[in-house]
Amino acid sequence: MGRIENHPILGASPEGKLVTFYYNGKPMEGMEGEPIMAALKVNGVMVHRYTAKTHEPRGVFCAIGRCTDCVMVVDGKPNIRTCITPLKAGMKVETQYGVSAKEA
Protein backbone atom coordinates (compact mmCIF):
# COMPACT_ATOMS: atom_id res chain seq x y z
CA MET A 1 0.00 0.00 0.00
CA GLY A 2 2.94 2.27 0.54
CA ARG A 3 3.94 5.42 2.32
CA ILE A 4 2.84 8.91 1.41
CA GLU A 5 6.16 10.45 0.50
CA ASN A 6 4.96 13.95 -0.17
CA HIS A 7 1.57 15.23 0.88
CA PRO A 8 0.02 18.41 -0.54
CA ILE A 9 -0.95 19.68 2.90
CA LEU A 10 1.29 17.83 5.34
CA GLY A 11 4.43 18.01 3.21
CA ALA A 12 7.16 15.41 3.29
CA SER A 13 6.72 12.50 5.66
CA PRO A 14 8.76 12.88 8.84
CA GLU A 15 12.11 11.13 8.66
CA GLY A 16 12.22 7.98 10.72
CA LYS A 17 14.65 5.25 11.56
CA LEU A 18 14.17 2.11 9.53
CA VAL A 19 14.32 -1.02 11.68
CA THR A 20 13.96 -4.73 11.01
CA PHE A 21 11.17 -6.75 12.58
CA TYR A 22 9.94 -10.27 11.95
CA TYR A 23 6.55 -11.14 10.54
CA ASN A 24 5.89 -14.85 10.99
CA GLY A 25 9.63 -15.28 11.04
CA LYS A 26 10.25 -13.31 7.87
CA PRO A 27 12.33 -10.13 8.22
CA MET A 28 10.58 -6.90 7.24
CA GLU A 29 11.39 -3.24 7.59
CA GLY A 30 9.36 -0.51 9.25
CA MET A 31 9.79 2.87 10.88
CA GLU A 32 10.71 2.69 14.53
CA GLY A 33 7.87 3.98 16.69
CA GLU A 34 5.15 3.79 14.06
CA PRO A 35 2.26 1.45 14.88
CA ILE A 36 3.04 -2.16 13.98
CA MET A 37 -0.05 -1.99 11.77
CA ALA A 38 1.51 0.77 9.63
CA ALA A 39 4.69 -1.20 9.02
CA LEU A 40 2.69 -4.30 8.11
CA LYS A 41 0.48 -2.37 5.73
CA VAL A 42 3.47 -0.88 3.93
CA ASN A 43 4.76 -4.43 3.54
CA GLY A 44 1.44 -5.52 2.09
CA VAL A 45 0.22 -7.57 5.07
CA MET A 46 -3.56 -7.40 5.26
CA VAL A 47 -4.52 -10.36 7.47
CA HIS A 48 -3.60 -9.95 11.11
CA ARG A 49 -5.46 -12.85 12.61
CA TYR A 50 -8.02 -15.59 12.11
CA THR A 51 -10.97 -15.70 14.49
CA ALA A 52 -11.52 -18.45 17.06
CA LYS A 53 -14.99 -19.62 16.11
CA THR A 54 -15.25 -19.35 12.33
CA HIS A 55 -11.55 -18.87 11.42
CA GLU A 56 -12.28 -15.73 9.44
CA PRO A 57 -9.45 -13.42 8.43
CA ARG A 58 -9.34 -10.04 10.16
CA GLY A 59 -7.20 -6.95 9.83
CA VAL A 60 -7.17 -3.30 10.75
CA PHE A 61 -10.66 -1.86 11.21
CA CYS A 62 -10.74 1.18 13.51
CA ALA A 63 -6.99 1.90 13.71
CA ILE A 64 -7.36 3.64 17.06
CA GLY A 65 -7.32 0.78 19.54
CA ARG A 66 -11.05 0.39 20.08
CA CYS A 67 -12.29 -2.47 17.95
CA THR A 68 -9.38 -4.82 18.77
CA ASP A 69 -9.73 -6.56 15.41
CA CYS A 70 -6.08 -6.01 14.50
CA VAL A 71 -4.64 -7.98 17.41
CA MET A 72 -1.67 -10.26 16.80
CA VAL A 73 0.86 -12.23 18.78
CA VAL A 74 3.70 -9.79 19.46
CA ASP A 75 6.86 -11.08 21.10
CA GLY A 76 4.91 -14.12 22.23
CA LYS A 77 2.02 -12.19 23.77
CA PRO A 78 -1.38 -12.65 22.14
CA ASN A 79 -4.08 -10.00 21.72
CA ILE A 80 -1.72 -7.08 21.13
CA ARG A 81 -3.48 -4.21 19.38
CA THR A 82 -1.12 -3.59 16.49
CA CYS A 83 -2.74 -0.29 15.54
CA ILE A 84 -1.55 1.41 18.71
CA THR A 85 1.55 -0.57 19.65
CA PRO A 86 4.75 1.12 18.48
CA LEU A 87 7.16 -0.88 16.36
CA LYS A 88 10.53 -1.71 17.87
CA ALA A 89 13.60 -3.20 16.25
CA GLY A 90 13.63 -6.98 16.37
CA MET A 91 9.97 -7.34 17.28
CA LYS A 92 8.42 -10.70 16.52
CA VAL A 93 4.96 -10.25 15.06
CA GLU A 94 2.90 -13.32 14.35
CA THR A 95 -0.50 -14.03 12.85
CA GLN A 96 -2.93 -14.89 15.65
CA TYR A 97 -5.15 -17.93 15.34
CA GLY A 98 -7.89 -17.70 17.96
CA VAL A 99 -5.70 -16.66 20.89
CA SER A 100 -2.43 -18.25 19.93
CA ALA A 101 0.25 -18.04 17.28
CA LYS A 102 -0.37 -21.57 16.08
CA GLU A 103 -3.07 -22.76 13.79
CA ALA A 104 -5.47 -24.89 15.81
Partner: protein
Protein backbone atom coordinates in the same frame (compact mmCIF):
# COMPACT_ATOMS: atom_id res chain seq x y z
CA UNK B 1 -44.06 -3.76 33.66
CA UNK B 2 -43.44 -5.98 30.67
CA UNK B 3 -45.53 -9.06 30.14
CA UNK B 4 -42.99 -11.28 28.37
CA UNK B 5 -45.51 -13.82 27.15
CA UNK B 6 -47.84 -11.20 25.74
CA UNK B 7 -44.95 -9.42 24.04
CA UNK B 8 -43.79 -12.70 22.50
CA UNK B 9 -47.23 -13.22 21.08
CA UNK B 10 -47.30 -9.68 19.71
CA UNK B 11 -44.04 -10.05 17.84
CA UNK B 12 -45.01 -13.40 16.38
CA UNK B 13 -42.84 -16.40 15.63
CA UNK B 14 -39.23 -16.21 14.52
CA UNK B 15 -38.91 -16.13 10.76
CA UNK B 16 -35.56 -16.86 9.14
CA UNK B 17 -34.16 -14.10 6.93
CA UNK B 18 -31.66 -14.32 4.12
CA UNK B 19 -29.12 -12.21 6.02
CA UNK B 20 -29.28 -14.15 9.28
CA UNK B 21 -25.72 -15.32 8.78
CA UNK B 22 -24.42 -11.74 8.87
CA UNK B 23 -21.91 -11.23 11.64
CA UNK B 24 -22.84 -8.51 14.12
CA UNK B 25 -20.44 -8.87 17.04
CA UNK B 26 -17.02 -9.07 15.45
CA UNK B 27 -15.19 -10.08 18.62
CA UNK B 28 -17.39 -12.97 19.73
CA UNK B 29 -18.69 -13.82 16.26
CA UNK B 30 -22.39 -13.54 16.97
CA UNK B 31 -24.74 -13.38 13.98
CA UNK B 32 -27.83 -11.38 13.26
CA UNK B 33 -29.92 -14.55 13.09
CA UNK B 34 -28.78 -15.68 16.52
CA UNK B 35 -29.75 -12.32 17.98
CA UNK B 36 -33.11 -12.26 16.23
CA UNK B 37 -33.87 -15.80 17.31
CA UNK B 38 -32.93 -15.10 20.93
CA UNK B 39 -35.48 -12.28 21.05
CA UNK B 40 -38.16 -14.84 20.29
CA UNK B 41 -36.82 -16.97 23.12
CA UNK B 42 -37.61 -14.16 25.54
CA UNK B 43 -34.30 -12.28 25.52
CA UNK B 44 -35.49 -8.67 25.48
CA UNK B 45 -32.63 -6.67 26.99
CA UNK B 46 -29.02 -6.11 25.94
CA UNK B 47 -27.97 -7.22 29.41
CA UNK B 48 -29.65 -10.59 28.86
CA UNK B 49 -28.50 -10.87 25.25
CA UNK B 50 -24.85 -10.36 26.21
CA UNK B 51 -25.16 -13.11 28.77
CA UNK B 52 -27.03 -15.41 26.45
CA UNK B 53 -24.93 -15.08 23.29
CA UNK B 54 -21.77 -13.29 24.48
CA UNK B 55 -22.24 -10.42 22.02
CA UNK B 56 -20.35 -7.41 23.33
CA UNK B 57 -18.47 -9.54 25.86
CA UNK B 58 -15.22 -9.74 23.93
CA UNK B 59 -12.12 -7.60 23.80
CA UNK B 60 -13.84 -4.42 22.61
CA UNK B 61 -16.75 -4.79 25.07
CA UNK B 62 -19.42 -3.95 22.54
CA UNK B 63 -17.93 -0.66 21.43
CA UNK B 64 -18.33 -1.67 17.80
CA UNK B 65 -21.55 -3.69 17.76
CA UNK B 66 -23.56 -2.15 20.61
CA UNK B 67 -25.58 0.11 18.36
CA UNK B 68 -26.16 -2.59 15.76
CA UNK B 69 -27.43 -5.08 18.35
CA UNK B 70 -29.72 -2.46 19.80
CA UNK B 71 -31.34 -1.74 16.47
CA UNK B 72 -31.68 -5.41 15.50
CA UNK B 73 -33.34 -6.19 18.85
CA UNK B 74 -35.63 -3.19 18.66
CA UNK B 75 -36.73 -4.09 15.15
CA UNK B 76 -37.45 -7.65 16.23
CA UNK B 77 -39.41 -6.37 19.22
CA UNK B 78 -41.27 -3.99 16.90
CA UNK B 79 -40.10 -1.03 18.95
CA UNK B 80 -37.94 2.05 18.41
CA UNK B 81 -34.23 1.63 19.27
CA UNK B 82 -34.53 3.52 22.56
CA UNK B 83 -36.73 0.68 23.86
CA UNK B 84 -33.56 -1.35 24.21
CA UNK B 85 -31.25 0.11 26.84
CA UNK B 86 -27.54 0.11 26.04
CA UNK B 87 -25.23 -2.10 28.06
CA UNK B 88 -23.90 -0.51 31.20
CA UNK B 89 -20.34 0.74 31.07
CA UNK B 90 -17.83 -0.78 33.42
CA UNK B 91 -14.18 -0.28 34.21
CA UNK B 92 -11.70 -0.77 32.74
CA UNK B 93 -12.48 1.23 29.61
CA UNK B 94 -9.59 -0.48 27.80
CA UNK B 95 -8.16 -3.97 28.38
CA UNK B 96 -5.40 -3.85 31.03
CA UNK B 97 -2.89 -6.51 32.01
CA UNK B 98 -3.42 -7.96 35.47
CA UNK B 99 0.16 -7.23 36.44
CA UNK B 100 -0.30 -3.54 35.68
CA UNK B 101 -3.43 -3.47 37.84
CA UNK B 102 -1.64 -5.52 40.45
CA UNK B 103 0.98 -2.82 41.01
CA UNK B 104 -1.70 -0.23 41.74
CA UNK B 105 -1.96 0.68 45.40
CA UNK B 106 -4.50 3.44 44.99
CA UNK B 107 -2.23 6.44 44.55
CA UNK B 108 -0.38 8.44 41.93
CA UNK B 109 3.31 8.93 41.28
CA UNK B 110 4.83 12.38 41.59
Amino acid sequence: MIDIRQKLEEIGAFEPHADDGLLVCRCEEVTKGEIRKAVHEGIFTIEEMRRYLRNGMGLCQGQTCGRLVKSIMAAELKETPDYVEPASARAPMRPIEMEILGKDQGGAYE
